[in-house]
C-alpha cells in the first residue's frame, strides 16, 4: 500500500479553515499531555491561563503590552514575506529602533523644544530600523546575497551594540546597567495599566497595510513579485527597487516597535528589549498567512499565551514557560497541515495500475 500525494485542482477551502483550528487543538492536546505529566489538570490550567489573560482588566492591559511589539514586528515581517524576502532580522531592527529612540530622548532634550522630542524619538526609531533592514535589502537587490543569513547576523550586531550602550557608554552613574530615565515629555502616554498609545499605531498601520495590499499599485506589484518574479520582470516592474523600498518599510515597522517599547514601558534603555519578539513575529506572520489584520489577531493570541503562562505560574505554581511551549507548538502542526491545502492524500494499492486518464499521474510518493 502506498500513500500518494497529488496536487489538488483548486486550493481546498475546507483545508484553509480546518488546518489552523486542528493545529490549535493538536497543540492544546500535546500541551495537555505535558501538563498531566507534571501533575496538573490541563483543563484547569488552560482555564486559568485564559482567565489570567483575558478575564481581567489587568490581564488585558498586559496582553496589550506584549501584543504591541508583536503586532508591529509581525506586520513588518509579513510585509517582507509577501515579497518572499525572508527577513528574520526583526529582532535587530527592533533593538536598534529602541536604541535610536533612546538616543533622541536622552541627548536631544537639552537642545530642542520639548514637544518635538517624542515624535522625533519615534521617527528616529523608524529610521534606524529601516536602515538596519535596508542593508541586507540592498545586498540582496544588487548582489543577490542571501537575506536569511545577513538579516540574522545583523541581529547579533545590533544586540551587542545595544548591550554595550546600556552597560557601558550610556550607563547612568550609580547603576550597574541601564540609562537614566527619559525626561517626562519623552514618555509615550499610557491608556490603561502599562498599555500605551502604541496600540493605536499598531491598529492603524495594520488597517493601512491591509488597505494598501488590496487597493494600491504598490500592493498589487508586491503580490506579482512575490508570486512570480519572472512575470514581474516581464511586466516591466523593477524588482530591485521594490525590494529595497518595501524592506525599508518592513524595518521601519520593527524599529517603531522598539521605539514604542522603550518610550512607553521602561522609559529608559535597559535590559529586556531584545527578548525574542522579532522571532515570535515570524511565527505570527506565518500563522496569519501574511494578512495584516490576521497579524493583529494572532499577535493578541500569542501575547495571551505569554500572559496566561505568567498567570498560572502565580496561581497554580506551574512554570510560566507553558505559554512559550504552546507558542512554539502551535505552528508545528500548522506547518505540517498546510501541505493539505494544496495536496490531497490518497491511499494507493500496488496491484492496481493507475486508471488511464485520471489525474493520478501528477503526484508524488510520500512514503514507500
Amino acid at each position: 500500500m502506498k500513500l500518494v500525494l497529488h496536487k489538488r485542482e483548486t486550493v481546498s477551502k475546507r483545508a484553509v479553515v480546518l488546518v489552523p483550528i486542528v493545529s490549535f487543538a493538536v497543540s492544546l492536546f500535546l500541551g495537555g499531555i505535558l501538563l498531566i505529566l507534571s501533575g496538573a489538570n490541563p483543563l484547569v490550567a488552560y482555564g486559568a491561563m485564559f482567565r489570567g489573560a483575558f478575564g481581567s482588566s489587568v490581564g488585558w492591559t498586559e496582553v496589550l503590552v506584549k501584543g504591541i511589539p508583536l503586532m508591529l514586528t509581525g506586520l513588518g515581517v509579513a510585509l517582507a514575506f509577501r515579497l518572499r524576502f525572508w527577513n528574520i532580522g526583526a529582532e535587530g531592527q527592533l533593538t536598534l529602533g529602541a536604541v535610536a529612540a533612546s538616543g533622541v530622548a536622552l541627548f536631544w532634550s537639552q537642545r530642542l523644544p520639548s514637544w518635538t522630542i517624542l515624535p522625533l524619538a519615534i521617527l528616529a526609531g523608524c529610521v534606524a530600523g529601516a536602515l538596519w533592514a535596508g542593508l541586507p535589502a540592498v545586498l540582496k537587490a544588487v548582489l543577490k546575497v542571501d537575506e536569511t543569513l545577513t538579516t540574522l547576523m545583523l541581529n547579533y550586531v545590533a544586540i551587542l551594540y545595544y548591550e554595550h550602550l546600556y552597560h557601558v557608554t550610556w550607563r547612568a552613574p550609580g547603576y550597574n546597567s541601564g540609562t537614566e530615565r527619559f525626561p517626562e515629555f519623552a514618555w509615550l502616554p499610557r491608556i490603561a495599566g502599562r498599555a500605551h498609545m502604541g496600540i493605536f499605531f499598531a491598529l492603524i498601520l495594520a488597517v493601512v497595510l491591509w488597505w494598501m495590499f488590496k487597493h494600491s499599485r504598490w500592493g498589487f506589484e508586491l503580490k506579482i513579485i512575490g508570486s512570480n518574479p519572472t512575470a514581474a520582470r516581464y511586466l516591466g516592474i523593477s524588482i530591485a527597487r521594490s525590494i529595497v523600498l518595501t524592506i525599508l518599510i518592513s524595518g521601519a515597522l520593527s524599529g517603531l516597535a522598539g521605539a514604542l517599547e522603550v518610550l512607553g514601558i521602561a522609559r529608559r534603555l535597559q535590559q529586556g528589549v531584545a527578548v525574542g519578539y522579532g522571532y515570535t513575529a515570524i511565527i505570527i506572520a506565518w500563522m496569519a498567512q501574511l494578512n495584516p489584520l490576521g497579524v493583529i489577531m494572532v499577535a493578541m493570541m500569542m501575547a495571551g499565551l505569554l500572559v496566561g503562562g505568567d498567570q498560572i505560574q502565580m496561581r497554580m505554581r506551574l512554570p510560566a514557560s507553558v505559554g512559550v511551549v504552546l507558542q512554539g507548538m502551535l505552528l508545528l502542526p500548522m506547518l505540517a497541515g498546510s501541505l493539505f491545502t494544496e495536496y490531497a492524500l490518497e491511499i494507493k494499492r500496488p496491484e492496481k495500475l493507475p486508471v488511464a486518464g485520471l489525474q493520478q499521474d501528477v503526484g508524488k510518493e510520500a512514503t514507500g
Partner: protein, 525 residues
C-alpha cells in the same frame, strides 16, 4: 557511419509496443511501436511536442505508460524507476545534465552506485574512467571539477557515467542542442565508436541534418504517433521534413492583403547570447512595418526566444541596434519597451506570461494598472478593473468561473486568452507573439490567429514566432527563417512553399533554393 546492415538481421534488443501516455488534455504518445537493434543508431525525429521525450521518459521509468508493453532482449519488463532501467542496461542523457558541478568527474561517475565500497578507491575509479574514455574517445580528466568543464565535456561525462554502469542502450535527448558545431561533429565520432563497441543508441532530435549524418534508421513522430520508420540511406531531408511537419492544412483564414505602412521595428545586426552565455543571435537584421505580420520560422532553439526577449528589453543586446517607431531602444528596460507600445505574448505562458496565484481579472489588468482609469495617484480603481476584466473576458471568450478565479485553475487555452486580452489591449505599435497557439485546441488556435490578423488590420506590426508551418503560411505576410541565430532568408508568404522553408530551417542558404523569391531584406532601406 551508416553501416552496411540495412535490414535488421537479428532480434531487437528493445521493443516498445503500443505505448500510450496521456496527460490532462493531450495524448503525448498514441500507440507507439518502436524497435531498436544491437549496434544501431536510431534517430527519433519530430517537432517539439511530438512526444519524443515522453516516449523515452517512459522507457527510463520516469513516466508510467497508460498502455503498452516493453520488451528488453525479448523479455517483457516493467520499468518503474530510473534504477530499474539502469538494471536493464538502459541509460539516458537528459537535456539538462544530471551532474553535480562542485564535484569531480570521478565522483559524479560513481554517485549513487549501489555496490560501491564504503570508502571508494578513487585511484581505481579514475583508472577505469581513463580506460573507458580512451576506448570510447571520451576524453576527459577524471580529477577535473564539473564546473571547470565545457558543455561538450560535460556531455561526455554523462555518457561515461552510463557506460561505467554498463549501459548497453543509450538514449540521448537532443544531444547537439547545447553543443558548438565542432563539438557536435565530435559527438558523431563518439556515436560511431559506441556502435562498433556493440552499444545501441537512440537519439532524439528535430534536426534533419543530424539524422542523415548520425543515424542508421529514423523513426518520425508526429502528434504522439509514429508516422514512418525508414532506413536513413533510403530517405532525404526533404522527405523527412514533409513527414515531420505533415501536409494537411488545418485552417483557411480569410485575410485581406497587407497594407504595410512605415517601419515600426528595425533590428540592425543584433548579437545576443542565451542563458548559458552561448551565442544565440548572430547578426540579426529585420524590419517590420505597420500593418504587416512577419513570421519567424525555425526549429526551436535557433534564437527565436532570445529574439523576442531582446526586442522587449528582457535580454541584453551585445551589439547592434534596436529601433521602435524610430526611437533607439537598444537595451532599454522592459518598462520602456512597454511604454513604447510593444506587447509580448511569451512562449512560457505559465512561468512568464501569467501569475497563477492571482485572479483572472488582475492578470488582465497587469499592463493597464499603471495609468487611469485603472489607477490614479497610486490607488487602484477596483471598480474599473473589474469592469475592464469583465469586458475582456467576454470579448475574448475566456472560460472562467468568475473574474476572481485564480489563473492557475484555468486550462492552457484560457490562460493564453487571458494573456492575449491583456497584451492586445495594451498594444500600440508592435505585437510579439511567441508560439501563441502551442498546445491549444482547434478552436482556441483559430481565435488566437484571428486576433493577430485583426491587430495587423488595425495598423500594428506583428512578429509571429512559430514552429507550425501551417500557422506561419496562413497568418503571416512575410516569413523570415532563423537558423543558428542568423536570418537565412525572408520569403513572401504568398509564394513560399513548405519545402523551401524546411530546407532553410535545416540550414540551407537562400541562394540554394529553387525558385525562392527573395533574399534577405535590407532593413531600413
Amino acid at each position: 557511419m551508416n553501416s552496411e546492415r540495412k535490414t535488421a538481421p537479428d532480434t531487437p534488443v528493445l521493443r516498445m509496443q503500443g505505448i500510450t501516455k496521456r496527460f490532462p488534455g493531450v495524448v503525448a504518445n498514441d500507440r507507439v511501436d518502436l524497435e531498436l537493434y544491437p549496434s544501431e543508431v536510431l534517430a527519433l525525429l519530430g517537432e517539439n511536442g511530438a512526444g519524443k521525450s515522453t516516449l523515452m521518459n517512459v522507457l527510463v521509468g520516469l513516466y508510467r505508460p497508460d498502455a503498452g508493453e516493453i520488451y528488453v532482449r525479448g523479455e517483457r519488463v516493467e520499468i518503474n524507476s530510473p534504477r530499474d532501467a539502469a538494471m536493464l542496461g538502459i541509460g539516458m542523457v537528459h537535456q539538462n545534465f544530471m551532474l553535480v558541478p562542485t564535484m569531480t568527474v570521478a565522483q559524479n561517475v560513481i554517485l549513487g552506485i549501489h555496490d560501491l565500497a564504503f570508502v571508494p578507491n578513487m585511484r581505481e575509479v579514475s583508472q577505469r574512467i581513463r580506460e573507458l574514455s580512451d576506448r570510447y574517445h571520451l576524453q576527459v580528466d577524471p580529477r577535473a571539477y564539473i564546473w571547470q568543464l565545457s558543455v561538450g565535456e560535460q556531455q561526455r561525462v554523462e555518457i561515461l557515467k552510463l557506460i561505467y554502469r554498463g549501459a548497453s542502450i543509450l538514449i540521448l535527448d537532443e544531444p547537439t542542442a547545447v553543443l558548438t558545431p565542432q563539438e557536435a561533429e565530435e559527438l558523431g565520432g563518439i556515436l560511431s565508436v559506441m556502435q562498433s563497441e556493440g552499444k545501441s543508441v537512440v537519439f532524439i532530435t528535430h534536426k534533419m541534418g543530424e539524422v542523415i549524418a548520425f543515424s542508421d534508421r529514423v523513426c518520425v513522430l508526429r502528434q504522439g504517433a509514429v508516422v514512418a520508420t525508414r532506413n536513413t540511406e533510403e530517405t532525404t531531408p526533404r522527405d523527412l521534413a514533409r513527414l515531420m511537419v505533415g501536409r494537411e492544412l488545418l485552417f483557411r483564414l480569410d485575410k485581406q492583403p497587407a497594407q504595410p505602412g512605415s517601419e515600426v521595428l528595425v533590428l540592425r545586426d543584433v548579437y545576443a547570447t542565451n542563458d548559458k552565455a552561448l551565442p544565440a543571435l548572430s547578426g540579426v537584421s529585420l524590419a517590420i512595418r505597420e500593418g504587416e505580420i512577419l513570421g519567424i520560422a525555425g526549429v526551436a532553439g535557433n534564437g527565436q526566444q532570445e529574439l523576442a526577449e531582446a526586442i522587449t528589453g528582457l535580454r541584453h543586446i551585445k551589439s547592434g541596434e534596436l529601433h521602435i517607431n524610430n526611437a533607439n531602444l537598444t537595451n532599454c528596460t522592459p518598462l520602456k519597451a512597454i511604454e513604447a507600445g510593444v506587447s509580448h505574448i511569451p512562449a512560457d505562458r505559465i512561468r512568464m506570461g501569467s501569475v497563477g496565484d492571482m485572479p483572472v481579472a488582475d492578470n488582465i489588468a497587469m499592463k493597464g494598472y499603471r495609468t487611469p482609469p485603472m489607477s490614479k495617484h497610486g490607488v487602484l480603481n477596483r471598480q474599473r478593473i473589474g469592469d475592464f476584466a469583465r469586458r475582456m473576458i467576454e470579448a475574448f471568450q475566456i472560460a472562467t468561473p468568475a473574474p476572481r478565479t485564480h489563473v492557475k485553475f484555468l486550462s492552457g487555452g484560457n490562460i493564453q486568452k487571458t494573456i492575449l486580452a491583456r497584451e492586445i489591449d495594451a498594444c500600440d505599435t508592435l505585437l510579439i507573439a511567441v508560439y501563441p497557439s502551442r498546445g491549444l485546441d482547434v478552436g482556441a488556435t483559430e481565435s488566437v490567429r484571428r486576433r493577430l490578423i485583426e491587430q495587423r488590420d488595425e495598423g500594428r506590426g506583428v512578429l509571429l514566432i512559430s514552429e507550425d508551418l501551417d500557422e506561419l503560411l496562413t497568418v503571416s505576410d512575410r516569413i523570415a527563417v532563423l537558423y543558428e541565430g542568423r536570418v537565412m532568408g525572408v520569403l513572401d508568404a504568398e509564394n513560399a512553399d513548405r519545402e523551401a522553408l524546411g530546407l532553410l530551417m535545416a540550414g540551407a542558404s537562400a541562394e540554394e533554393l529553387p525558385g525562392a523569391s527573395s533574399a534577405v531584406d535590407e532593413p531600413g532601406a
